[in-house]
């Protein structure tokens, strides 16, 4: 096996793949909670990139880790509120399919 040392580019590519998977979920899933899960994947992709940059570019300053930490916190807050909204939608529409919430069209 070719021993290429694992560098920043590997981590960033991993991040990109995960992000793509996440955004595909966001774009295609009909269920609102699945969409939320997909956004969590995107958050994680971003976190991987941030921590990787922190590890390889500015190991001493730890800026990337701090930002990743805030991202996790904000994601938690987002998940809370979003799920509350989902519950409300469920109550109003008797279902949480995103493509049913389409009355703001022509």
């Amino acid at each position: 096996m070719d021993q290429v040392p694992i560098g920043l580019n590997h981590y960033l590519m991993l991040s990109g793949v995960l992000f793509t998977v996440g955004i595909f979920g966001v774009l295609t899933r009909r269920n609102a909670i699945a969409v939320l899960m997909s956004t969590e994947l995107m958050f994680n992709a971003a976190n991987i990139a941030l921590v990787a940059f922190s590890r390889f570019v500015t190991p001493a300053a730890l800026t990337g880790q701090i930002v990743a930490m805030f991202t996790i916190i904000v994601a938690a807050a987002e998940a809370t509120v979003a799920l509350a909204i989902v519950l409300l939608i469920y109550r109003s529409f008797k279902g949480i399919n995103v493509d049913r919430i389409n009355f703001m069209k022509w």
């Binding site: 096996m1 040392p5 694992i6 560098g7 920043l8 580019n9 590997h10 981590y11 960033l12 590519m13 991993l14 990109g16 995960l18 998977v21 996440g22 955004i23 595909f24 979920g25 774009l27 295609t28 009909r30 269920n31 909670i33 699945a34 939320l36 899960m37 969590e40 994947l41 994680n44 976190n47 921590v51 990787a52 590890r55 390889f56 570019v57 500015t58 190991p59 001493a60 730890l62 880790q65 701090i66 990743a68 930490m69 916190i73 904000v74 994601a75 938690a76 807050a77 998940a79 809370t80 509120v81 799920l83 509350a84 909204i85 989902v86 519950l87 409300l88 469920y90 109550r91 949480i96």
Partner: protein, 166 residues
């Protein structure tokens, strides 16, 4: 097997777990399975953080994501979805165009990242990142820290207000 190759192997295994978990998360017909795969993915990401010497972050990832957010998701699933229902479609009608665009995006990203030389610093990570992070949060980043606490409080109150029955 050298240590480097062990690191490589770990990275590839974790990468596989992350990507596969992600793909299953977004593609599973059963929403509960999606949630389980999400937990799996998040755990793998925590492992990836350990590989990147971000031990505190890994702990936080497990505590908050796996412990709180994923649980929240599962509760959401259980509260809103009849898992026994047979779904005709779990994706909408734009999945093929979306797949094409995402593929294009990924190809473009990989092409761009493949051999971009980043200015990598040779300095090793400090051994005690948890202590350093704690100090930073209480000194340099104290204002964002407080703001984010306020945000959490607002989200808490907001979630209660939004979700409560009238």
């Amino acid at each position: 097997m050298t240590e480097i190759s062990l690191t490589n192997l770990t990275f590839y295994i974790l990468s596989f777990c992350i990507i596969a978990g992600g793909i299953f998360t977004v593609s599973s017909r059963n929403l509960f399975h999606s949630a389980v795969f999400l937990v799996f993915t998040l755990f793998s990401v925590a492992g990836m953080f350990v590989m990147l010497n971000a031990y505190l972050l890994a702990a936080i990832q497990v505590l908050i994501y796996v412990g709180a957010v994923a649980m929240l998701m599962i509760f959401g699933v259980m509260l809103t979805t009849r898992l026994a229902d047979v779904r005709l479609r779990h994706v909408n009608e734009q999945s093929w165009p979306a797949l094409a665009i995402c593929g294009f995006f990924l190809a473009f990203l990989v092409y761009g990242l493949w051999d971009t030389p980043f200015t990598v610093s040779g300095v090793p990570m400090p051994a005690d990142t948890a202590h350093a992070l704690g100090t930073l949060l209480m000194t340099k980043y104290v204002l964002p820290f407080e703001v984010v606490s306020l945000l959490l409080l607002a989200a808490l109150v907001g979630a209660v207000v939004i979700a409560k029955k009238d």
